[in-house]
Symmetry: C2
Subunit: 582 residues, 2 copies
């Protein structure tokens, strides 16, 4: 196979035109085999096979620098830059990350995982090149979906002013994770329809030069185009029309399902799991919201690129479901305004992406104190383990904004009681940190007014030691209490704090009477988190406090068990640490 | 005067065409008098006089809803909606805020102060209207400068999909605070030149309808235009060409100086102060950076809409000064990439605006660990006191991101030593929280390698009580130490922590020997801040800890002295609180 002989782009450049076609086919089959066995981003990479080959055939990486947006489409780039073995040999599958990674290769310039940043990053590389008097090509690759994020626009707007070489490859596969939303996409459609000839051209309005490639999966057409723009002395957009999932029937037919996931059965296209499983919090939430929206036409579900509903549910929800594209800032501001005008917005978002909209949370939502509800998914050290997708920073981010009520339920019943209150109430911006340790049903019935803010719930009254088990770590608290009883006959108090954003001073004061140690457990980074507030509260007193959580550190592709152990987040370790204090 | 008879828009609607001209003139003169005596946003409001009159003449506020971007141009709107007295009578000047404020009037829908949000907010109001089956007009007013922010684009992209009434008034005065930057502005120029006829039209690429008004300071032309779009059944942009500072010669001639400020001499246009005073940290920093850039062509200063250099210095800096527009996300990503490609970016930004780019700080900068330097200005409870411009949230925001080194200098010499190190070093993303308590020169000479992270500096060794005075509050720490000595003969230890982002465990361990109380002082919100980390460190020990800082709360137009007192941030209060513990 040709693929086995490609150790660097130099080897690629030796191939003939026909050999490039064969190589592209090999790359696609190799990708498919790994993805079906291992999982990963499927459609984006299948669509980028030929463009990746053409980029490396024409340009001189790593002198010329290619920046991939999100970089979930950089697998073929990796295969062509010395990392093919991690795609060919199952035992080496995990030797590469799913995103670009400078530690793997000199051909990667940034660790990237969030959207809409490649043009800005490329503009910075180009600016530095110009200051140094260098001459290399700087290439940004960005998908049509990623163009919905504001930073992509800021990048285009500024790239247009650069006055020197920058090549922006717009990989237009006509999809985000789900379908695209926004006026821009009609313009891209017009450009595809007119083969780039339409005078009404989003990119040209910035003064950017523009080149259209109709068959973005034809390696020869792409090589021609890239040769035309190589060493250009001004900014240009190369708009390539590609097919998401290209070359794999099931992925072409069901682009949304095959955006990412797997493993899957290569022959039948059957995925081994269902993201929208009705028994998961994602599925339960979607069904709950569908019911709410049916009974109340002012309830509206908002998402930003990562669909909370599958396509069937989206149809059922109709105009009460809005996908704003990968535009978290817009989603939050819009939610605030929907609430201000008397309706009931529910914005569903992952922990790793809520951090893209701090200013809107603070300014548009919380200063205005509008009653929008935000559902935060995958907020946990046990969720995604790529360094770019960690779910452990949302507590410092959301938890320190005035007026925000950030809730941490510990069971299915508590979660939906909080959601019910969050939708109904009109006094606060509310966010709920959805548990991540499985759907735990307690059968408990809630009649509580969560508007009585910051009332912690004492679930077991004991003495000497009190355990505050927050959200997903409440059950860990149960284990600690049990072990304290078994190992040392200590009747510890167990508390479900419920409110991340407030301190229950009455409960904490009361603990002073017959407790000497308060322990906090939180499924997130310690710095700026929940536990530190408890430590501050008891700072001037003799009460001792032990905060358990995750150390402030970027961790990547980790074993959850290892990280839990490193951070002393197992019941035996916690109990040991408690004994050291007592 | 007509102005005295306007208690609501209904009174305005009774006026004849000619009377509207007279009223506009009165409004402008009233504005000028107040602004010259009181200060505020000058140019933006002078340019919006006629548009504000026309909007309220045509539309039916508050049923029809007008959302102002930034809302620094909403003064005339306030004068027309029952708040004229606060502009006419000096003793009532402070009865209105400088931004829109629902607590003042039913004609205001949001507290706004940051940029680029009005289209998103208006889209939310419109969506709620549609869900409820209402029919009012929703109007967003946004300036050309604000269009440089990504959220404005996200808003336009989504507004285009709304399928119902939304009127986006683009107030094009051809300026941001300073001149605009970005390719978009050439398109706006083309549209003005062609009186809106050019086929290459940024707004139309989203599928938005479009109407151009060449004389945006002609109340009759504006009334005609607004009458045309009133009750329209789809999204439309009304692009109005206005003059920033209209009707006041000095403001028209020096648009940047007269963006905001004052008081000033109405007759001569002489401002009573100079923002770029060479003796302020702003001026000192600009001169320092100019020198650095002269000696090293790879140093580059980046700003985002709020100029760090005045126009003369910008000319001197040439291509080593970049203003990216109000695009903080782009600024951070670009800075990271400039550093990645071997140059030395210095990004200057205000505390209140750094929060617009958390995700890029975390992902593009800190995960990649690139050595960009960020200078954070006005980070203090003593800086701006509008609720939308508070400078007290940057510590929780920046201080809890892994890899970030956030420094808090306590003097001029220490600041520039840190800046010098920050530019030279290549190991960390570094931010510096520039002091806000005046330029304090100690004459101290620094030869320190700040790369030896998290080493607190013990400036006075004592016992019993240790004071950690962070940054601008170091001198408060000095006062506390002095008072402890004078009042109770306590020889307290004084520490300059310098590193916001780290805990000096060696120094803190050592304090255990002969101290019983550690006090932290920080000029920011307590929640998620510096002091809580010290409280967490000592949580499991017998050391007592007292954290002083600002309570988590949105505060607006406050007296600094009052807020300091409320938060026990005066030396006598702190000493009292210490005595209560000892």
């Amino acid at each position: 196979m040709y693929i086995e002989k490609i150790d660097s782009p130099a080897d690629l450049k030796k191939l003939s035109g026909k050999e490039l076609d064969t190589l592209s086919n090999e790359l696609r089959q190799t990708l498919l085999k790994k993805l079906s066995e291992h999982g990963g981003h499927i459609g984006p990479n299948l669509g980028m096979v030929e463009a990746s080959v053409a980029l490396h055939y024409v340009f001189n990486s790593p002198i010329d620098k290619i920046v991939f947006d999100v970089s979930h489409q950089s697998y073929v780039h990796k295969m062509l830059t010395g990392r093919k073995d991690a795609f060919i040999y199952p035992e080496k599958y995990d030797e590469v990350s799913g995103y670009s990674e400078p530690n793997e290769s000199e051909h990667d310039f940034f660790v990237i995982g969030h959207t809409s940043t490649s043009v800005s990053l490329a503009t910075g590389l180009a600016k530095a090149r110009d200051l140094k008097g260098d001459k290399e090509n700087i290439i940004a690759v960005i998908g049509d979906g990623s163009l919905s994020g504001g930073e992509a626009y800021e990048g285009l707007n500024n790239a247009a002013e650069l006055g020197s070489n920058i090549i922006i490859v717009v990989n237009d596969n006509q999809m985000s994770i789900a379908e695209n939303h926004g006026g821009l996409y009609k313009n891209l459609q017009l450009l595809r329809k007119t083969r780039g000839e339409a005078e009404r051209n989003f990119f040209k309005t910035f003064g950017l030069d523009y080149l259209y490639v109709n068959d973005g999966n034809d390696v020869h057409a792409l090589i021609d185009a890239f040769n035309k723009v190589k060493n250009i002395n001004h900014p240009i957009v190369v708009h390539i029309n590609t097919v998401k999932g290209k070359g794999y029937r099931f992925a072409e037919e069901n682009k949304e399902m095959f955006h990412a996931g797997g493993p899957f059965d290569l022959a039948t296209g059957k995925m081994n799991y269902n993201f929208y499983d009705d028994k998961s919090y994602m599925g339960l939430t979607a069904n709950y919201l569908l019911d709410k929206m049916k009974e109340d036409k002012t309830v509206v579900t908002i998402t930003s690129g990562v669909p909370l509903f599958n396509s069937e549910r989206r149809k059922l929800a109709g105009r009460q479901y809005i996908d704003v594209g990968i535009a978290e800032e817009h989603a939050v501001a819009m939610s605030s305004a929907i609430a201000a005008n008397g309706c009931k917005p529910v914005y569903g978002v992952m922990s790793t992406f809520i951090q893209r909209t701090y200013d809107q949370l603070s300014q548009d939502l919380c200063i205005n104190n509008n009653p929008a509800l935000i559902l935060v998914f995958m907020a946990s050290v046990t969720s995604m383990n790529d360094v770019t997708h960690l779910g452990v920073f949302d507590i410092p981010l959301l938890g320190n904004i005035p007026n925000m009520v950030y809730l941490a339920p510990t069971s299915k019943e508590e979660y939906f009681a909080m959601a019910e209150w969050g939708i109904k109430q009109t006094s606060h911006p509310v966010a709920i940190r959805i548990p991540t340790n499985g759907v735990i049903s307690t059968g408990e019935i809630f009649n509580e007014d969560f508007g009585q803010l910051n009332r912690y719930k004492i679930t077991k009254k004991g003495s000497k030691v009190a355990i505050l088990g927050l959200g997903s770590f409440y059950q860990l608290g149960e284990s600690v209490v049990e072990k304290l009883k078994n190992d040392a006959n200590i009747d510890a108090t167990l508390i479900n704090p419920r409110y991340i954003t407030g301190v229950d001073t009455a409960v904490l004061e009361d603990l002073k009477k017959d407790h000497e140690l308060v322990v906090t457990l939180e499924d997130g980074v310690l710095n700026g988190g929940f536990g530190e507030k408890i430590a501050r509260f008891y700072g001037p007193t003799t009460m001792k406090v032990l905060n358990f959580g995750i150390k402030k550190k970027f961790i990547d592709r980790y074993s959850v068990d290892d990280v839990l152990k490193e951070n002393h987040l197992t019941a035996p370790q916690i109990v040991d640490d408690i004994f050291k204090i007592l």
